[in-house]
């Protein structure tokens, strides 16, 4: 049972990576990236977990009682918020790509090639 958190993290990362590689749509790709990111959250929180310990907030229980690792929790917390903002940036890019190139298939999007209409 103690292997379960690592397996969950590995599984999430593998699923996300497979989706990234085989993606045929930019928005789907952004979603897969988020799944990969979630794997790191599971991994980090798993690393910080301590058996039979409380949260690292010493309000109800006094300082000195066992508590889980607060550093990884802080990392995950900031990353969730910043990751959401970065996802929004990627989706904004998706809107622009759709507007200019008329497609969101990474296959059809070759970099540094002028758009077919050359309206820019």
């Amino acid at each position: 049972m103690t292997l379960l958190p690592w397996l969950v993290a590995a599984w999430l990362f593998a699923v996300g990576l497979y989706g990234l590689v085989t993606s045929r749509h930019y928005v789907h790709l952004v979603g897969c990236l988020t799944v990969c990111q979630s794997a790191t959250y599971v991994l980090l929180l798993g690393i910080g977990y301590v058996h039979e310990a409380g949260p690292p907030v010493f309000y109800d229980h006094p300082p000195g009682t066992p508590a889980v690792d607060p550093v990884v929790q802080a990392l995950v917390l900031t990353d969730i918020v910043v990751g959401a903002a970065v996802t929004a940036l990627l989706l904004a890019i998706a809107i622009q790509v759709q507007r200019r190139r008329g497609t969101l298939d990474p296959q059809a999007l070759r970099p540094l090639r002028p758009p077919p209409s050359a309206a820019e």
């Binding site: 103690t2 292997l3 379960l4 958190p5 690592w6 990576l17 590689v21 085989t22 045929r24 798993g46 690393i47 910080g48 977990y49 301590v50 058996h51 949260p55 690292p56 907030v57 010493f58 309000y59 300082p63 000195g64 508590a67 889980v68 690792d69 607060p70 550093v71 990884v72 929790q73 802080a74 917390l77 900031t78 990353d79 969730i80 918020v81 910043v82 959401a84 903002a85 970065v86 929004a88 940036l89 989706l91 904004a92 890019i93 809107i95 622009q96 759709q98 507007r99 008329g102 497609t103 296959q107």
Partner: protein
């Protein structure tokens, strides 16, 4: 590159990385018995040193505050980038007409929806402020409180509709909140430097443990983060929902129609 080739490339990369991954995986500590010393030292020392109850906030806003400053800059950059990308293509005009698909009737909202959304949006906003304020004592802080408060704006959109929402949520205010939060954070980090101390030196009185005022400078940093996150996520919501409005001038609407056509053809 076809998906088959991409998968092959991935397999090659994984094969190359496999020895390193295996080595790390076999060296992982057992679940529930971490070997990292830093976290447990924080738990043991910081309640005494900083008079705060929430260790996660202490790590975020004090011990690794400089790290959070970097995260804050990333947030600012990401939101600025998204805003520039969306607004740059759309123009600065603030139209007050919601877009709708031709042929689909626009059903007015039920009174119950409007009422529930107004009540829920108010409560969400208050809850967000409360979570942000109690960051030093209970689980919470600027990051969570900011996101909760900003998501209340979405409830306003649901209840009031596009036009009402646009008058209620001024995007310059959100942008100012975001910017001033970042500036406040930089001031908190930089002012101790001027006095000759390391950045983010906690010079304010630390206050009482379990009190609303505890942690000294952490209060200011927490407020900066709360302001910045609320502004950022509010701004993102505004920008993305602006994309749904009716394009006013003819060329834009033609372009939009064309896009709709291609999208429909594709699906």
């Amino acid at each position: 590159m076809t998906p088959r080739w991409r998968l092959l490339l991935l397999a090659l990369a994984l094969a190359a990385l496999l020895p390193a991954v295996l080595r790390v995986a076999l060296a992982m500590p057992e679940f529930g018995a971490p070997t990292a010393v830093l976290g447990q030292s924080v738990n043991a020392l910081v309640p005494e040193l900083r008079h705060v109850a929430n260790m996660v906030a202490a790590v975020n806003f004090d011990l690794r505050g400089f790290d959070t400053l970097g995260e804050e800059c990333m947030l600012l950059c990401a939101v600025t980038g998204a805003t520039v990308l969306l607004r740059g293509a759309r123009g600065e005009r603030g139209d007050v007409r919601a877009g709708h698909l031709p042929g689909r009737p626009v059903i007015p909202r039920a009174d119950a929806t409007v009422l529930v959304c107004r009540v829920a949006a108010t409560l969400t906003l208050l809850f967000g402020i409360s979570v942000a304020l109690h960051g030093m004592t209970t689980p919470g802080g600027g990051f969570q409180g900011g996101v909760i408060a900003a998501s209340g704006l979405l409830l306003l959109y649901l209840g009031e509709g596009y036009a009402g929402w646009r008058t209620l949520v001024p995007s310059p205010v959100l942008a100012a909140m975001e910017g001033s939060g970042a500036v406040l954070f930089v001031l908190c980090a930089g002012l101790p430097l001027i006095a000759g101390h390391p950045a983010l030196t906690n010079g304010l009185p630390l206050g009482e443990w379990k009190d609303l005022y505890s942690g000294g400078l952490m209060i200011a940093v927490n407020a900066a983060v709360a302001l910045s996150v609320t502004g950022s996520f509010g701004l993102l919501l505004v920008e993305f929902l602006e994309e749904t409005r009716e394009p006013a001038d003819a060329p834009a609407s033609n372009e939009a129609d064309h896009e709709d056509g291609t999208m429909r053809a594709r699906t």
